[in-house]
């Protein structure tokens, strides 16, 4: 009743191939955009920006990146943290070497560095698959972080060994550095997320997306209809790493402010992997929902018991939170292995009829 394509007749292939062919979807996206560009900045305070929403959006960008590689092209990666680190360190090097360069351009350029390294670590994917490939990307994770720790040039021989976001402004507005307002950084991160999510959606529904899925579903058949496996896989590694690289740059420059390589350790890679598994492999919307779920659930678990009047000692609460978090993820994966994106699809299918029985 509320969500259905009935009556929405498409008369051209172009209209049928629109990014959101169903009018209810267009409304949903429009409402989401209004909420994130107008409503959230109006209501949110410094704490919400800094502790919840900005990291959520950055994780969402990285999750889209990993989902392109793992969900669409079927190549498992545990090197997300390292590819994010490359973006962050490249941004740091570029913006300290060329202080006049527009920082937004630097973010995109550092994504390209990450893409380049991603291609190199993607080469083994021609020969090895599945868990073995995951181990090969694990090598990227450890090697790159080791390199950034070991070679002082990457952090400008800073005695503390950290990279710090220098103050940079665009059109007179502070984007990075200690004086950048949370709301400015929020808008920067949000804009990146919107543009990147739409670009990813466009790529995955076109020729490149189809060749990724073809390689994922049946690589021999894909090869026989003329898809070159190496080229297709490396393209997935490049675009995925580009997304992760930009996410890494934003992670330091629009959120943490300064960090060491520990910020990009294996836990970060796993965190992003959990997001796409919970959100749904092979779905752009799922990547964003997964990032939201994994970011918001711990906050909810911390704040919920006091809200209903249960007082728990803080150390116990912390442990309980981790237990519940783990149990929920396991439960969730058993009940719905295709993730939140699938649940969302089921809701849409139900809404085609609801509230009528048929």
């Amino acid at each position: 009743m509320f969500y259905r394509e009935a009556g929405q007749f498409k008369t051209t292939y172009e209209a049928d191939q629109g990014i959101f062919p169903i009018i209810q979807d267009r409304w949903f996206i429009a409402i989401m955009l209004v909420i994130s560009f107008v409503v959230i900045p109006y209501f949110a305070n410094e704490y919400w920006f800094q502790a919840v929403i900005i990291p959520l959006y950055i994780y969402a960008i990285a999750a889209i990146g990993l989902n392109i590689l793992t969900g669409y092209a079927g190549q498992v990666s545990l090197g997300t943290g390292a590819f994010m680190a490359i973006g962050a360190y490249a941004t740091y090097k570029l913006c300290t070497a060329f202080p006049d360069l527009n920082i937004l351009i630097v973010f995109v350029m550092s994504g390209l560095f990450s893409a380049g390294v991603g291609i190199i670590f993607g080469i083994p994917s021609l020969r090895i698959k599945g868990f073995y490939l995951a181990v090969a990307t694990l090598a990227a994770q450890f090697f790159i972080l080791w390199l950034f720790n070991k070679v002082g040039w990457f952090y400008n021989n800073n005695p503390s060994g950290t990279i710090t976001a220098p103050p940079r402004e665009v059109l007179g507005i502070m984007i990075t550095g200690p004086n950048a307002l949370a709301i400015t950084r929020y808008y920067v991160v949000l804009s990146f997320l919107v543009v990147f999510a739409l670009a990813a959606k466009n790529i995955v529904r076109g020729r490149i997306g189809r060749s990724w899925m073809a390689i994922r579903d049946m690589d021999i058949a894909a090869e026989i209809i003329g898809i070159e496996p190496l080229k297709t896989k490396l393209m997935a590694f490049a675009i995925s790493s580009f997304y992760c690289g930009v996410a890494g740059a934003l992670y330091i420059f629009c959120w943490l402010g300064s960090a060491e390589t520990e910020a990009f350790d294996i836990n970060l890679s796993f965190l992003i992997l959990f997001m796409i598994i919970v959100g749904g492999l092979g779905s752009i919307m799922g990547s964003i929902m997964g990032a939201a779920f994994i970011t918001l659930l711990p906050i909810f678990l911390t704040n919920f018991p006091p809200m209903i009047g249960i007082q728990i000692a803080s150390d116990l609460a912390k442990h309980l939170e981790e237990i519940i978090f783990g149990v929920l993820i396991v439960f969730f994966l058993i009940v719905e292995p295709h993730g939140l994106a699938r649940l969302w699809q089921i809701v849409k299918e139900k809404l085609r009829q609801w509230p009528f029985p048929y």
Binding site: T12, Y13, E14, D16, Q17, I19, A199, A200, N202, I203, R205, G206, R207, I208, R210, S211, M213, A214, R216, D217, M218, I220, A221, A222, E223, I224, I225, G226, I227, E228, M235, I239, G282
Partner: protein, 263 residues
């Protein structure tokens, strides 16, 4: 039943192909040709090397000896995607569809080779990328019309019944507009009606699109009915080559199929 399209021009010429895996000889010294526009069948008992032969033609296996000439170009070894670029498409004995994608996407993937727009245009979905999608969608829709699968256009192929999956796979191969279509047991596991449908599609493809077809099939009545010429393989050797009538009366073929008494 001879088709009108058959010409004397040789499209594919296979000469002295030998293929072995370690000590096992899968094919030994196989030679035959395929004329432009004909329906050529390869038959033989299980393990005769029929699928291996197709795999050699489209570059999936690399034979140790012999050469294959396609459209006047001779090659010893080639990569599968090069064969696809030259205009060879195929279907598989066991369905090899992209199960996570819809029927339409599967067929559109068959058009991939002919699409050129780069990643930046695709990310924006503007300009060449947008034009290309519409252009190739039209071709894909013609294939969908042809195979009468309009109603399952947007259904994920994993949910389709077996017969329809076979048809979608044929559609994916047709979408590439191949000059040579290799069909590996297109009718395996089908009931009588489905077989008749599939025969009709194969004959229509040959007749209306002028596509040359090499097919492997076990159902003798089908093979004898629709093919122009037949190659018979047994244990990797060639037993006979000729029109269905010639092959049917060949003593070696009868022996291979019915068995022979050894004294």
């Amino acid at each position: 039943m001879a088709t009108q399209h058959t010409t004397e021009e040789v499209l594919l010429d296979v000469k002295g192909i030998s293929l072995s895996f370690g000590g096992v000889k899968a094919l030994s010294n196989i030679s035959f040709d395929v004329r432009k526009g004909e329906i050529r069948a390869i038959i033989g008992p299980n393990g005769a090397g029929k699928s291996s032969m197709l795999n050699c033609i489209n570059g999936f296996y690399h034979p140790q000896e012999g050469e294959i000439t396609f459209k006047g170009e001779t090659r010893k070894q080639m990569q599968t995607h090069k064969a696809a670029e030259q205009g060879i498409a195929r279907t598989f004995q066991n369905i090899a569809l992209f199960s996570g994608m819809s029927t339409l996407d599967n067929i559109m993937t068959g058009r991939n080779l002919k699409m050129k727009a780069n990643v930046f245009w695709q990310a924006l979905h503007l300009g060449p990328a947008r034009r290309e999608e519409v252009e190739h969608r039209e071709v894909a829709e013609r294939v969908i019309d042809f195979l009468e699968i309009e109603q399952i256009r947007k259904t994920p192929v994993g949910r389709l019944p077996y017969g329809l999956q076979k048809r979608v796979e044929l559609g994916r191969a047709l979408a590439a507009e191949p000059d040579l279509l290799l069909l590996d047991e297109p009718m395996a596991g089908m009931n009588h009606e489905e077989k008749e449908d599939m025969c009709r599609y194969i004959l229509d493809v040959n007749d209306q699109l002028g596509t040359t077809i090499v097919l492997i099939e076990h159902d003798m009545s089908v093979v004898m009915d629709i093919s122009d010429r037949v190659v018979v393989l047994d244990y990797g050797r060639m037993l006979a080559d000729g029109t269905p009538d010639v092959v049917r009366t060949n003593q070696d073929v009868i022996n291979a199929y019915l068995g022979v008494t050894h004294e």
